[in-house]
């Protein structure tokens, strides 16, 4: 198992946001987290790169292992953890820098200065995110000149550049048009060969298309976690069925 969580509870001050989440995720799979807004799926996603630590008043209990390492251990270096667990956000958020510098950013902040190495890594990451052909002639241009879909793929390239083994995606295509969305989904399918991907999505069809396993969250609980095929044809829990068939309420 690449990732293992056991009885994870998370509190925002008094609010119990995650309730006893136990989940196992295999390497090189895509896991979709679905559920209505505020169900805890994004919070759970951010457990894996300790992004919740940035919020005041967050308390977390339980065990989270990545490659057998307890990531909330005192010995864990958060910056190293985040190098291993990349993240792509809902809204494309490239930095106000050139395309090249955006991808190089993660390398630079991690102390890599070898120019040749950086150039190679940037090119490789852009190839991986299927953006190279579109940007190879304008690496010095501002990242803001790219379209929304391109910006999102740039953000994926940026995450890939520091060679993570896990990629977290928080509704990566929700701000994009259908063609850009299709490209991101295709990319996820490609990346699965080398990375373990966890994706939060509000789009049921997207979860069905891209993921191997799906977890349904409701009110901070993991209601059902199973093969995506089973979730979408024969969910065991009536709440799951109500949610995915759009009869929630």
């Amino acid at each position: 198992m690449k990732i293992r969580t056991h009885q994870v509870n998370l509190y925002y001050s008094d609010f119990h946001a995650l309730k006893g989440i136990t989940m196992e995720i295999s390497a090189n799979t895509v896991t979709a987290l679905i559920g209505p807004s505020g169900c805890g799926k994004s919070t759970f996603l951010r457990v894996f790169n300790r992004m919740n630590d940035l919020i005041d008043g967050v308390k977390i209990t339980g065990d989270i292992f990545i490659d057998g390492q307890e990531i909330y251990d005192r010995k864990t270096n958060i910056d190293d953890l985040r190098k291993n667990v990349g993240m792509v956000f809902q809204k494309p958020n490239p930095f106000p820098k050139s395309i090249f510098e955006n991808v190089a950013y993660g390398l630079r902040v991690n102390g890599i200065n070898d120019k040749k190495f950086i150039e190679e890594r940037v090119e490789r990451s852009l190839h991986q995110s299927a953006l190279w052909d579109e940007v190879k002639d304008k690496m010095k241009k501002s990242a803001f000149e790219l379209s929304g879909g391109q910006q999102q793929r740039l953000c994926i390239a940026r995450a890939l550049a520091i060679e993570p083994s896990i990629i977290l995606m928080d509704e990566p295509a929700s701000a994009l048009d259908p063609i850009s969305t299709a490209k991101i989904e295709e990319l996820i399918y490609e990346l699965k060969k080398n990375y373990t991907i966890i994706i939060v999505t509000h789009n049921m069809q997207q979860a069905g298309r891209v993921s191997d396993k799906t977890g349904f969250f409701y009110l901070g609980e993991l209601i059902e976690y199973d093969d995506t095929k089973i979730i979408f044809t024969n969910p065991k829990n009536p709440r799951t069925q109500n949610y995915i068939t759009g009869r929630f309420g």
Binding site: G208, F232, T233, T245, R247
Partner: protein
């Protein structure tokens, strides 16, 4: 009620109407055999067009629901089962039409003795009844009733098997009525197919309601 619910309800009433039409077709065919009423038989043949019309309409409706609503889970299974049931019903309709054609083509009325010896009419009753029961189990999502269909289909099989020797005897005794014997045997063969179609539909109902796939399972597992 969601838009999809509305569509599914529509689909259900559509296929129920088709179902009732086919039950009527079988009943009329049976009556036409007993009374040797060629006009009634012709009516059944003409009505087959309506059955085909239903089939096309339901096919298209299912297609639209898939394309526009991307149904999942229970909705998906429902539409899939309707799609397959639609196919099975259409074939059942063909069977009624086929038998009606025998009546139109036959030279004189069917021998009552032969009909009773072969239990053709019993079979007719039973087949129509089974089809009616499958409809009830579909309407009420009653898988218990659907499961009983498998048992009842066996009775049709028995009549079908017995019919071979009965008709052979009859032909030996009445060589002149060879043609009539063959018509009756063919009718029995066709009615036996009605049972098979109903069995398939029952499987679809169980799949839709319980998400269990019974197809190609061993006979002894069907009852559980």
């Amino acid at each position: 009620m969601t838009h999809l619910d509305e569509e599914l309800k529509q689909l259900k009433s559509e296929i129920t109407n088709m179902w009732n039409l086919i039950i009527q077709q079988l009943k009329k065919t049976q009556e036409a055999i007993v009374t040797f009423d060629k006009d009634l038989a012709r009516e059944v043949i003409a009505n087959e067009k309506r059955v085909n019309g239903f089939e096309l309409k339901i096919d298209r409706d299912c297609e639209n629901i898939f394309a526009l609503f991307n149904p999942v889970a229970v909705d998906l299974r429902f539409v899939l089962s309707v799609l397959k049931t639609n196919n099975n019903l259409e074939r059942t309709g063909d069977i009624a039409e086929g038998i009606a054609k025998f009546i139109v083509n036959a030279n004189h009325s069917f021998d009552e003795k032969l009909l009773s010896q072969t239990e053709t009419l019993v079979m007719f009753e039973e087949a129509t009844d089974i089809l009616q029961d499958v409809l009830t189990s579909f309407t009420n999502e009653d898988t218990k009733l659907a499961r009983r269909i498998f048992q009842r289909d066996e009775m049709l099989d028995e009549i079908n098997i017995k019919a071979n020797s009965v008709v052979a005897d009859y032909i030996r005794k009445n060589p002149d009525n060879l043609e009539q014997g063959l018509y009756i045997l063919s009718t029995i063969r066709k009615l036996e197919r009605v049972g098979d179609q109903c069995k398939n539909i029952a499987e679809e109902i169980i799949f839709y309601v319980e998400a269990k796939v019974l197809k190609h399972a061993k006979g002894n597992q069907k009852g559980d």
